[in-house]
């Protein structure tokens, strides 16, 4: 695997949604393109892995120890919104309808992909709820079977801790990703959140 062309194709095809054909097309595009196109990409990728890591409190992407949301004292410190991916935070922030904190699980319980609770940042969430002054946990996992399983699991885990546990209202496209929901629908789902029993 020393041939740089083969190495690049191989590297691209490891990305989600990219098959061998697309990987080859991208590789030959970069080969033909002016030098800075490929080098900018290489620099950006390097910086991405070296400078960005996860917030030690909520596991959102962060440049420092804490992410910009956890570092902002103006945010409501008593509410945590639990999401599957950092991209979901971007979607919720865009609505402007939420002023609390987040917690990123980095996935959802998915037996078909062999992802169990221990593979997610669930223990860290329980710890936060115990240590911080949390009054409400909003479970904003995706409205599909995996997201539902994850929400129920967390709800049962948090039940004895005496916090208010809520789930986004229905109305989001079933089976869809939070990431793709439009702003108004998402804001309404947040507004109409209901307690889980």
């Amino acid at each position: 695997m020393s041939d740089p062309i083969e190495r690049t194709i191989e590297a691209f095809s490891r990305l989600p949604g990219i098959g061998p054909k697309t990987a080859a097309r991208l590789t030959y595009f970069l080969l033909r393109a002016p030098n800075d196109v490929a080098l900018d990409l290489a620099d950006a990728l390097k910086a991405l892995k070296e400078e960005i890591h996860y917030c030690r409190r909520c596991f959102n992407v962060a440049q420092g120890e804490l992410c910009s949301i956890c570092a902002d004292p103006g945010r409501d410190q008593h509410t945590i919104c639990v999401v599957e991916e950092p991209l979901d935070i971007v979607a919720i922030e865009r609505t402007g309808a939420y002023r609390g904190l987040y917690h990123v699980l980095h996935g959802a319980i998915n037996p078909l992909a062999n992802v169990g609770p221990e593979d997610l940042r669930i223990n860290e969430l329980v710890e936060r709820v115990q240590k911080e002054e949390v009054r409400e946990v909003i479970l904003a996992t995706n409205p599909n079977m995996e997201g539902e399983a994850t929400a129920m699991y967390i709800a049962r885990l948090l039940e004895p801790l005496g916090v208010r546990i809520t789930r986004l209202a229905h109305g989001l496209p079933i089976g869809g990703d939070l990431e793709y929901a439009d702003q108004q629908t998402l804001a309404q789902a947040l507004e109409g959140r209901r307690p889980i029993s």
Partner: protein
Amino acid sequence: MYLQHISLKNFRNYLRLELDLPQGVTVVQGRNAQGKTNLLEAIAYLATGKSLRALTERELVHWLAFEQEPIPYAEVAGDVLRDGIVTRLRIVLTQQGGRGSGSGLRKVVMINGVRQRAIDLLGILPIVLFLPEDISLVSGPPSARRKYLNLLLCQIDREYCSHLDAYTKVVTRRNAQLRSFQGKRPDPTLLAFWNDALVEHGTYIIHRRQEIIARLDELVREQHRILTAGHGRLRVEYRPSLTLIPPSTQVPKAQLALALAKEPVAYTPPPILPPHKIRKRFQETLNTLQREEIEAGATLVGPHRDEMAFLLDGRDVRTFGSRGQQRTVALAVKLAEVQLIEEALGTSPLLLLDDVMSELDEERRARVLHVVRQVPQAILTTTDWDVFDADFLAHAYCLQVNEGILTEKTPDTP
């Protein structure tokens, strides 16, 4: 309700078809592999959003479309008239990424020009489709009978369809979860979630199957009685994988025999259990099976393992019936289905019969044609005009199909 117009583009062996359909009877004649069944399949596809024959939707797209269209696609559209209102149904399959991209097909369902889910098609154009291979409904494996029940129930109850869809997803995920517990202590919270999901969706399915089979039992028996002039008494029995009535409460065998001896004709179908009782039984059964299920890494009980039996004078037609008896039962089931859909939806289904007549004797043909004349619309295919009498054809709209091209035809012109 009837289908006024059907339009096909690149569907199976039809490159282009625009066809106005009348109320009443349409007969399509053609040699084998000219497109008779494909036409019925297209209508059934529009009615249910699913292909009843193809394994992949790719098979539905004409091969020329992959070579000649800039973006390969297939389309089925139809206008359904009911109570003076026309509903336009349309399904488009498009090759993603254009020609030669090798990736999957994108399926878009439109109702009156608005994008909808495939499930929203159900019930707008109810159909009863009878293909020669439908004898497998009686002679085939249990999965054939589950498939039959599912299609019937989906057409009359969309909620059933969404529960079925969810249930199927739960079973695959639950099986994987059970396997993940092998050799470990199962996580009780996770297990509870998958059990609850299985029971919630499964209960709805079992409850509806109980009801529909109880009604089928009556309707099929009557159809069968007419078809056979009273030879043998047919019963349709639900054999759920979940034991609905625990053995302790069942009537002891001796007592049952005594009751039967007293009154040999009396038969009381099992009571229909209300959902809350099914739910309770289901939960209890899952609890007792827990260890076994983890060991097997599979969901061992539930609607995905249900069975339905056809009993002729108490003997299972699947194992003991002759080919002829099996065919008669299948026909009785299809004719009963017409009635069942009428009762449930308040409109008669479009009856689609694919080359069914040639397999039947005179009397049964007459019985089928009696039902065909009663429904507002029926489409029959045949290889041979001679299976119909001249009077029947004189009142039918006759078409001939040749390599995916339909032409109007009067039977006396050669």
